[in-house]
């Protein structure tokens, strides 16, 4: 059951009214600070939002992107607040490497995922579009990321994820370096995850955060990164 403020924020988000959502959050922050808005407004609203998305209840890409933008705004405000209060930033859960696979330039889903991971206290290393398999793995080893989240929108591009699977396996990193795959094509082709060798997938950016946390845990039970 959402509180009054949560319902108001969700209603404005459903209208696609980013400015009204930010006004509500700003108003809240005057009394209670931005950092409390993360746990008391944004997280429950995004959870409900993700559930509605999962159930296919009239949500569009714009809704997701506006939600991402609001999350980004709130994160910036939290950082400003921490600097003003001279408070230590909240500890990150770990480093994550994300990017679009070789030849893929559809960055929307990846950028949304990045924002939701950051709001969930992950340190995100976003490699951008058209990333080669070896670049993903090199970066993951450099920053000690146990999960690579790779995105593709088109089927033909998604097949390039097979190269990343091979790169991980050829370096003996299978299991400890988990491969999360996502993008619209994985919803329309449920067998594609097996075809490209993914270790897990999720239906949207919200569910991806949960997925990646599970995959990170799985990795820790399978050993250490070299």
């Amino acid at each position: 059951m959402l509180s009054d403020i949560q319902q108001k924020v969700l209603a404005q988000l459903m209208e696609g009214n980013r400015v009204a959502v930010i006004d509500l959050i700003d108003e809240w922050a005057v009394q209670k600070q931005y950092r409390t808005a993360v746990s008391e407004i944004l997280e429950p609203v995004l959870h409900e939002f993700g559930e509605r998305w999962y159930r296919g209840e009239g949500l569009s890409l714009s809704h997701g992107y506006i939600a991402g933008k609001i999350a980004e705004y709130l994160m910036e405000k939290c950082l400003e607040e921490e600097e003003q209060n001279d408070a230590a930033p909240r500890k990150k859960k770990g480093n994550l490497v994300i990017g679009n696979i070789e030849d893929d330039y559809h960055s929307l889903g990846r950028m949304m995922l990045g924002r939701f991971l950051e709001i969930s206290h992950w340190q995100v290393h976003d490699l951008g579009n058209d990333v080669l398999a070896e670049e993903f793995v090199d970066k993951a080893l450099e920053v000690r990321s146990r999960v690579i989240a790779v995105s593709a929108m088109m089927y033909t591009n998604a097949l390039n994820i097979q190269k990343l699977r091979r790169e991980i396996d050829d370096r003996g990193l299978g299991g400890v370096l988990q491969l999360a795959v996502g993008g619209a094509v994985f919803i329309t082709r449920p067998n594609l995850i097996r075809e490209v060798g993914g270790d897990g997938t999720a239906v949207n950016a919200f569910k991806s955060v949960e997925l990646i946390e599970r995959m990170w845990q799985t990795s820790t039970t399978l050993g250490e990164l070299p």
Partner: protein, 339 residues
């Protein structure tokens, strides 16, 4: 009635002898002539030969111009990636920074190779088949066209968060849209199909469509000199059709396979032509029996609806679809009374 008379009837609000049939066989023609797709999507004669085979073998009521929106990206300077069995795609967006649209020139319809290819293909098809069958032009609506320049994600970001720039881009591109669509009519298109790739419920909330897209579309469609049929592009479309039905020169809408004819008809009234809604891109997976059943279900649902066209929805019918499936779709409108 021949195909042309039948289509002319439904486009002008008169009753046809039977439902016309619309199948997106733009790509399929290449398979029939064995034409490599690089050639098929750059040589108007090669394309027209493919469509000649489509017409000869399947006798659809509509022949489509090349159904490959990335050709518009190419016309603005983008490069394409070609495949063996599907239409070309954009290799890399023309604009990596949306604001750089200032640096682009609008393509010249008389000299730009991609545009010349598309208009000549229509001209050739019209000259060879125009007395018997309707030739449909294919263009992109002005609100969706920026996707071809910068990709969906950048255009969506610009549209949502850089409203002034988005307005500037739309203002820049709108005259090109009107000029281009009118050229397609002059070349012989009986109607122009507009894949509405951006203004779908999957991309935008209704409120934004109403407030931000509708004024642009109204201005753009007001200046065109022929009927427009809006295309669902492969995503559910019905929730917005009532808005688009009020736009100038919009005579019809192609529904997605997940859209309901009954609900849509209830929302838009009796006169708007509704097309669809067989799932075109998946019909290579069907048996002939399944195809007939799918057609039968739609035709029975629409049996009292004169402003209806049985057709495939979404992108092209796959090139490996057995001809028997396509024949089954085409014949279903003749067979419906026997079922």
């Amino acid at each position: 009635m021949n195909s042309k008379e039948r289509m002319t009837a439904v486009l002008s609000g008169k009753h046809p002898d039977r439902s016309p049939v619309s199948m997106n066989l733009a790509l399929y023609g290449a398979g029939l002539t064995g034409c490599p797709l690089v050639e098929y999507y750059s040589d108007p004669e090669a394309y027209a030969l493919g469509q000649e085979q489509v017409s000869r073998i399947f006798q659809p009521d509509i022949l489509f111009a090349p159904f490959a929106m990335p050709l518009y990206a190419q016309s603005f300077g983008g490069t394409l990636r070609f495949y063996k069995d599907q239409p070309p795609n954009i290799k890399k967006p023309v604009l990596s920074v949306p604001d750089d649209f200032h640096l682009l020139a609008l393509p010249d319809p008389d000299n730009n190779p991609s545009l010349v290819y598309m208009r000549r293909a229509i001209r050739i098809m019209g000259s060879r088949h125009g007395n018997e069958v309707v030739v449909a032009g294919v263009a992109m609506d002005p609100v969706s066209l920026p996707i071809m320049l910068m990709g969906l994600d950048k255009w969506l970001q610009t549209f949502l968060f850089e409203e002034t720039m988005a307005t500037d881009i739309l203002g820049w591109i709108l005259p090109f849209f009107r000029e281009w669509v009118n050229i397609l009519f002059e070349e012989g298109a009986s109607f122009v199909a507009l894949p509405m790739a951006f203004t779908t419920p999957a991309i935008l909330p209704r409120k934004l469509v109403l407030e931000r897209c509708m004024p642009v579309l109204k201005q753009a469609f007001d200046g065109v000199k022929g009927p427009l049929i809006l295309h669902s592009t492969g995503a559910p479309f019905s929730p917005f059709i009532d808005l688009f039905a009020t736009l100038p020169n919009v005579k019809g809408a192609e529904l997605n396979c997940k859209d309901s004819f009954q609900d849509t008809r209830a929302n838009v009234g009796e006169q708007l032509l509704l097309m669809g809604n067989l799932e075109g891109p998946n019909c290579n997976q069907w048996s002939v029996k399944q195809t007939r059943e799918k057609c039968k279900t739609i035709l029975q649902d629409r049996k009292d609806d004169p402003f209806f066209i049985l057709g495939t929805s979404g992108p092209d019918i796959p090139i490996d679809t057995p001809p028997a499936i396509i024949h089954a779709i085409g014949r279903s409108v003749e067979d419906v009374n026997k079922w």
